[in-house]
């Protein structure tokens, strides 16, 4: 019992630290990627390549004055950002991101401590998928209340749009989620990932999107589209459309209230991408089998990245690249060494594959933001109800029929 509490506390600290850092740097990555898509530099003043920009933003947001406009409903105005960020952050606690970790037996001061085995997640609950759906459906209260309590026509419109949009897109999202669950036969996230292990013909992974009776590629695409709407991202960011609603539901918020909504948006992004990875992309299972050398991929990739950094550091485009890029190169070489270190491979490699898939999906989110314009409001609603919903329903029916036929 005590060991369980201590291990959980350590896991909590590690996951919280990594998650918060990811959220801060996700924003840096987003600004950099969008800048490069639009042939700009992006943040480059604070620290080398703008790497300290998230820190500067956090300091700015904390030290700003939190203005409370006189016309707001005080209780709900203060409650809304808490709700939004709480519902967004709590989802990560049930996401499994690797297999298990075993600490061998050791002795400190003559007292022996037995070997500890722990799963790589905070909580393993049987209805994991439903938990994520429940919590994300509660997340809309934060936005709706922020819009209403600000007592401002722009924020009210933003809040209304967001509740309508999230109710509408929840249906195709849930139906798309249900299709891979039919063949996995469980609601437990770890069980779903375990059901996707192995390979067809020795090299095609058994992920849900390649699954044999009926590949779940359609429900994966429906899920991703609905996820864009659920997280209020471009092309569905109607609740905060700048040119129509100033900033939508968070017009009146400044300082930490604004930061809370900002953090909630990125946390939701990470959550939906994790769910897509676990349900459709096979979680931590590699893209090709170990016998064909999937364990070599990660170190080689890191080594090549490090080599490119060092090469550009030796032929610098800007004067400070001569110092910064070789440092990054050394970091990547160290990562390559860590991923190739034989005793840790069974622990590190699943995490690498999970993080790689997660980062790819996050990159797709950012890429689409840099590429697509915003939809009109009637187009958004019509698309959900007239196209996405019937398609998801038909997909679920066909999947259920084929699973019943072949299983």
């Amino acid at each position: 019992m005590e060991a369980f509490l201590i291990i959980t506390a350590i896991k909590l600290a590690v996951i919280l630290g990594v998650f918060m850092t990811t959220l801060a740097y996700l924003q840096w990555v987003e600004r950099k990627v969008i800048a490069h898509v639009q042939v700009r530099m992006g943040p480059s003043r604070v620290g080398p390549h703008g790497l300290l920009q998230p820190l500067a933003d956090v300091i700015k947001l904390i030290t700003k004055e939190g203005v409370m406009p006189p016309h707001v409903n005080k209780f709900f105005y203060l409650l809304a950002p808490f709700l939004a960020v709480f519902m967004a952050l709590i989802c990560i606690s049930i996401v499994p991101f690797g297999t298990s970790l075993t600490v061998p037996a050791f002795t400190i001061g003559g007292v022996a401590y037995g070997p500890y085995t722990t799963m790589m997640e905070l909580a393993d609950i049987n209805t994991g998928v439903l938990f994520i759906l429940a919590v994300s459906s509660l997340g809309v209260y934060g936005i709706a209340l922020a819009g209403w309590s600000s007592n401002n026509k722009y924020s009210l419109l933003g809040g209304l749009r967001s509740s309508a949009q999230m109710i509408s897109y929840e249906l195709p999202l849930s139906l798309a989620l249900a299709a891979p669950l039919l063949s996995a036969g469980t609601l437990n996230l770890r069980g779903i990932v375990d059901a996707q292990g192995g390979f067809y013909l020795g090299f095609i992974p058994r992920w849900a999107i390649f699954e044999m009776p009926f590949p779940q590629i359609i429900s994966f695409i429906i899920f991703m589209i609905a996820a864009f709407a659920e997280t209020n991202r471009i092309p569905f960011d109607l609740p905060e459309a700048e040119n129509e609603l100033v900033a939508g539901f968070h017009v009146e918020y400044s300082s930490m209230g604004f930061a809370a909504f900002f953090m909630a948006e990125y946390a939701n992004m990470v959550t939906v991408c994790s769910v897509a990875t676990l349900l459709f992309l096979g979680g931590w299972h590699p893209l090709w089998p170990e016998s064909l050398g999937s364990n070599l991929f990660a170190p080689v990739l890191m080594f090549l990245t490090g080599a490119i950094c060092v090469y550009h550091g030796l032929n610098p485009a800007r004067p400070f690249d001569r110092i910064t890029l070789p440092v990054f190169g050394v970091v990547f070489f160290a990562l390559a060494g860590g991923l190739a270190f034989r005793p840790t491979v069974p622990i590190v490699m699943p995490i690498f594959w999970f993080v790689a898939k997660l980062s790819f999906l996050l990159f797709v989110f950012i890429w689409i933001r840099a590429t697509l314009p915003r939809f009109r409001y009637d187009q958004l609603m019509g698309f959900a109800w007239k196209f996405l919903f019937p398609l998801a329903l038909a997909n679920l029916l066909v999947t259920g029929f084929l699973v019943a036929l072949f299983a």
Partner: protein
């Protein structure tokens, strides 16, 4: 442990339920109702009915109450204003009537269920999705199908009403 969580969420549920009636503003009342739903879900969870608990949150707190709040926001309903003084009979007889009702309920429940066991926590394991699905499609197939037909009728009724409005 279980008793502590039961007491906590039972207390919260009753508190939120009273708050639904006491609040003057529709949004506050609706949010208190969300609190009731959430506390009930926690009670289900304590009894081992995981699936029902999650379904409770998804359906009631996540869909129905969001719709309520959406409508309240859309109509921009303000604070209750026409709050007249309660009549003297309510003042005089309200509390005694409530106490009498409570006593009658206790009396009848002991009379009708004389030797019922008290609720046990933690030893019920049939609350997963698999067991619920199995029960729905074997023992309770007819009620399940009849309920879905009822909901279909409600949907058609809503469409008919909305069409009249549009024409």
């Amino acid at each position: 442990m279980e008793l502590f969580f039961f007491s906590l969420f039972a207390f919260l549920a009753v508190l939120c339920g009273i708050n639904v009636v006491l609040q003057h503003h529709p949004i506050s009342s609706a949010l208190s109702l969300v609190g009731v739903m959430g506390s009930l879900a926690m009670l289900y969870l304590g009894l081992g009915a995981e699936f029902i608990a999650m379904a409770q949150i998804i359906v009631y707190a996540g869909a129905i109450m969001v719709l309520f709040i959406f409508v309240i926001m859309l109509l921009n309903a303000g604070t209750e204003t026409g709050r007249g003084k309660a009549s003297w009979t309510a003042h005089l007889l309200g509390a005694p009537a409530l106490i009498a009702l409570f006593v009658l309920l206790c009396l009848f429940s002991t009379r009708w269920f004389p030797n019922s066991e008290s609720v046990k926590f933690g030893d019920f394991t049939g609350g997963g999705a698999q067991q619920i699905g199995y029960a729905l499609f074997t023992d309770y197939l007819l009620p399940f199908e009849v309920t879905s037909v009822l909901i279909l009728i409600a949907i058609i009724g809503a469409i008919v009403l909305a069409r009249k409005e549009i024409d």
